[in-house]
């Protein structure tokens, strides 16, 4: 028989005015298992809590019901107090007779009847409460950052600054991501390379940061505080440690290839770094284009290499790392434009996308910063910028707004005007979305000072006529069609999730939306967390974002990582699911329904180690305690601690008429 103590709080007159608290205390004496009841003025006050401890001790209570305010208000208070008196904190329940009774039912008779019911209900429940221990988990004090663009670098630098080790895994040959491709950045027009290169170098020199470029995360095991990632370091064909970055191999390599860093304009070599400031400044052989890998002859790079670090036989290397937390910062892609035949991208050389314009405007880019259109190298006198190409387009693109295009189109008109003073920029837009610090002012500057002509409407077609591009658009403000003869057209293409983002999400066990952007745990209150504890998001892998937002989120993710890794052990509420292995029929409905991937299949072995049956297994580090599995389980095998079926039924039964 249990020994329940019931404490009915007056809450001054907040409860006692409309509930006969003495009667409640008195009647509860008759409830089975109840050995002590009392009504008291302020249970949450210091004397109230003292009384609670005293009575627990004196009457050897094994469970407690406090009939008072909402558990959202004071459950923690009373559980801590009970724990101090040596009672397991999960043996304390509250009956909510204030928010859901005394304050809402002015009739004292009704309020009292309801309070009796609610208190009885919790007595019945608490008698079935189990003693639960908080779950304690060790923590590996090391973080992994996936992606080496501005988001990844910022997160890594912040984590490292706190003295915590961090590993950056970057898919590409160098750090830098998309940001290092940009010419100048809004709304300040500072040179992207000037602010990005120092960060890349800083990351590479920081002793707490290990960088794996040309590498990918292949698999992830474990749970918060205790992950293990398998990283594939693809063969660079160059011994990284020995390379001095002299660049002679690239210079002498006879094989020219298109340079993706320059968006297909400008050439690179089969052994190359994408750009001179690459970090690490170590070239990689592109085995698909290298003459030696194709024909077995050449090896010029090997001959000219001073420190002899070319290794044609180099194999991919697998590295396993143990980490406690992960920041995913894999960035974005831009939408392929082949589906927009009406704009002639791919057909007309002078129809380019925004990133190509960035390279054209960059002093280090394929035109060395001069405005020269791709077809004939002439200076374009009229440039048309088309916004929302693929964005806000349910027919051929995506329905969301890519968020950054309004700003970068405005910036690009400025960059253009600053380089071609007599030139004219036209911008076709649907809405100007310039909600950010100094953003609206920036767009107005493009219009008012730099003479950009903003036309509210979409473009229907672009076609060539002689050496001009005819742009057929509309001005919806005057309701008239508009035709512009342009020399160059720049398309502000939609930002999309990285190709393969869904696959990475599955590898990591995080969720993603229908566009393959990774999903945050809560859109307002947990914007950097994923639903998988210990994995955080930074930057455009979550949704379109500009640089300032990305940096802010990266720092936020870093602070989350540091908060997590600052703990010696992790403790969490033990309201998690548990499995009765004897009953499990291995239907795995629970595994499918679990939003967190907390359930796996486990093999039960006989003495000889043969698997004789499979059962569900809950990882308590990952389980968040929603109870979906409990409701879905057909054999009543998996149950949610603290909300087991018998506890709920006890509550229902207590309400019997």
């Amino acid at each position: 028989m249990s020994r329940v103590g019931v404490f009915v709080c007056h809450c001054g007159t907040n409860i006692s005015a409309t509930v006969d608290v003495a009667k409640v205390a008195e009647e509860m004496k008759n409830q089975p298992g109840v050995v002590y009841t009392e009504d008291y003025k302020f249970m949450c006050s210091s004397p109230g809590q003292g009384k609670l401890k005293e009575i627990i001790d004196e009457h050897k209570l094994d469970s407690v019901v406090i009939a008072a305010c909402s558990p959202h208000m004071h459950e923690k208070t009373f559980r801590n107090a009970a724990e101090a008196a040596g009672l397991n904190s999960f043996k304390v329940e509250m009956a909510n007779i204030r928010e859901q009774c005394s304050w809402v039912h002015p009739d004292k008779a009704e309020g009292t009847v309801k309070s009796l019911d609610l208190t009885k209900k919790m007595i019945e429940k608490v008698r079935l409460n189990e003693e639960l221990d908080k779950i304690v988990m060790p923590v590996t004090k090391k973080a992994l950052v996936i992606g080496g663009g501005i988001a990844g670098i910022q997160a890594a630098l912040d984590i490292a600054a706190a003295g915590t080790e961090v590993i950056i895994v970057e898919k590409d040959v160098t750090l830098g991501g998309h940001m290092i491709q940009l010419s100048e950045t809004f709304p300040t027009l500072d040179c992207s390379q000037c602010i990005m290169t120092p960060k890349m170098v800083e990351a590479s020199l920081n002793p707490n940061i290990t960088i794996y470029t040309y590498a990918e995360v292949e698999a992830l095991d474990g749970y918060v505080g205790n992950f293990r990632a398998r990283i594939r370091r693809k063969a660079k064909s160059v011994v990284e440690e020995d390379c001095t970055g002299c660049g002679i191999c690239q210079e002498k390599c006879p094989k020219k290839v298109d340079n993706p860093f320059e968006m297909g304009h400008g050439k690179s070599k089969a052994i190359a770094v994408p750009f001179p400031q690459a970090v690490p400044n170590v070239p990689v052989i592109d085995r698909d284009s290298c003459i030696y890998y194709k024909t077995g002859k050449c090896r010029i790079c090997e001959k000219v290499c001073g420190p002899k670090c070319i290794d044609f036989d180099q194999q991919d290397e697998i590295v396993n790392v143990d980490i406690g937390a992960i920041v995913v910062a894999t960035g974005y892609d831009t939408m392929p434009l082949d589906r927009f035949g009406e704009y002639g991208y791919g057909k007309y050389k002078d129809v380019i996308d925004g990133l190509t314009f960035e390279r054209m405007a960059s002093a280090a880019g394929f035109t060395e910063g001069e405005m020269k259109r791709p077809s004939d190298g002439k200076t374009p006198e009229t440039v048309v910028f088309i916004q929302c190409v693929g964005s806000r387009d349910e027919s051929k693109g995506v329905s969301y707004c890519s968020k950054i295009c309004c700003m970068y189109s405005a910036k690009q008109t400025m960059l253009y005007k600053h380089k071609v003073h007599h030139g004219k920029a036209h911008v076709f837009y649907m809405d100007i979305r310039a909600g950010g610090k100094n953003y609206e002012e920036f767009v107005r500057r493009a219009i008012e000072e730099d003479d950009a002509n903003y036309i509210r409407g979409r473009v229907s077609r672009v076609y060539e006529k002689g050496d001009k591009l005819i742009v057929k658009g509309a001005d919806t403000l005057s309701g008239r069609p508009v035709t512009i003869e342009a020399d160059m057209v720049v398309l502000a293409t939609a930002m999309t999730a990285r190709k393969g983002a869904d696959k990475l999400a599955q590898t990591l066990g995080i969720s993603y939306d229908r566009y393959n952007f990774f999903s945050e745990s809560h859109p307002k209150l947990r914007p950097v967390e994923t639903n998988t504890a210990g994995i955080f998001l930074a930057g455009a892998c979550q949704a379109p974002k500009d640089v300032p937002e990305t940096v802010a989120q990266a720092s936020a993710a870093a602070s989350k990582v540091l908060g997590l890794l600052s703990q010696e052990t992790l403790k969490r509420e033990p309201i998690t699911a548990e499995v009765n292995e004897a009953n499990c029929i291995a239907c795995f409905d629970c595994l499918n329904i679990c939003p967190y991937g907390a359930i796996t299949s486990k093999g039960i072995t006989d003495r000889d180690g043969n698997i004789i049956k499979e059962v569900a297994e809950v990882n308590p580090g990952v389980c968040q305690g929603c109870g979906l599995c409990n409701a879905a389980c057909r054999s009543k095998t998996i149950e949610l601690r603290g909300f087991k079926d018998n506890q709920i039924y006890a509550e229902i039964n207590s309400l019997a008429v």
Binding site: S70, P71, H72, N96, R98, E99, Q100, C101, W103, V104, H105, P106, D107, E110, G111, V113, K114, D117, L118, K121, S511, S519, H522, N531, I575, I593, P595, Q624, G625, C626, G627, L628, N630, A631, A632, L640, F643, D645, I648, Y649, E651, I652, N653, L655, A656, V657
Partner: protein, 161 residues
């Protein structure tokens, strides 16, 4: 068990059991208190982490124990604290409702609602509405009579061993 109350209709008050999730509707009900709204006192709340935790048998159990109506309320679609729990709850309900209807359960006695932690007024309105409708329907004697029968048969079976 409730014969006497049925005959004596003027003192009868409906008994409504509400299954609500901890994060949205429970918060909404608390807010109704904090805002000192008043509403019908016939509702008894059972708090669960998520509406997705609700086993359809909870509903039947409540009727068996004398509930006249049941209210289920959780987070709005898309707002679930556990991402998808309320969707599962809704889907489970869709699959289960035909079965309940087929078994002869009075579907007018089961109410579903999405009430967020900010929607104190909605909580008040929904509870009053359910209570009003339940009063129109009267006590759920049909189910309670089945109970009596089941108990009778249980007795007979027990006697027969």
């Amino acid at each position: 068990m409730s014969e006497e109350k049925v005959e004596n209709k003027e003192v009868w008050t409906p008994r409504i059991i509400a299954y609500v999730c901890n994060w949205c509707t429970y918060g909404g009900a608390d807010l109704a208190g904090t805002s000192r709204k008043t509403y019908d006192a016939s509702v008894r709340v059972i708090k669960l982490p998520c509406t997705g935790r609700i086993d359809p048998l909870f509903l039947l159990k409540a009727f068996e124990r004398g509930a006249d109506s049941i209210l289920v309320s959780g987070c709005h679609p898309g707002d679930c604290h556990y991402n998808t729990g309320n969707y599962h709850s809704r889907r489970r309900w869709t699959a289960f409702r035909d079965l309940l209807e087929f078994s002869g359960i009075d579907m007018r006695r089961i109410h579903f609602s999405w009430i967020s932690a900010a929607e104190a007024v909605k909580w008040v309105d929904v509870v009053n509405d359910v209570s009003e409708k339940t009063k129109e329907l009267g006590p759920y004697t049909e189910f309670q009579r089945i109970n009596e029968k089941i108990k009778e048969y249980d007795g007979i079976f027990a006697e027969q061993g």
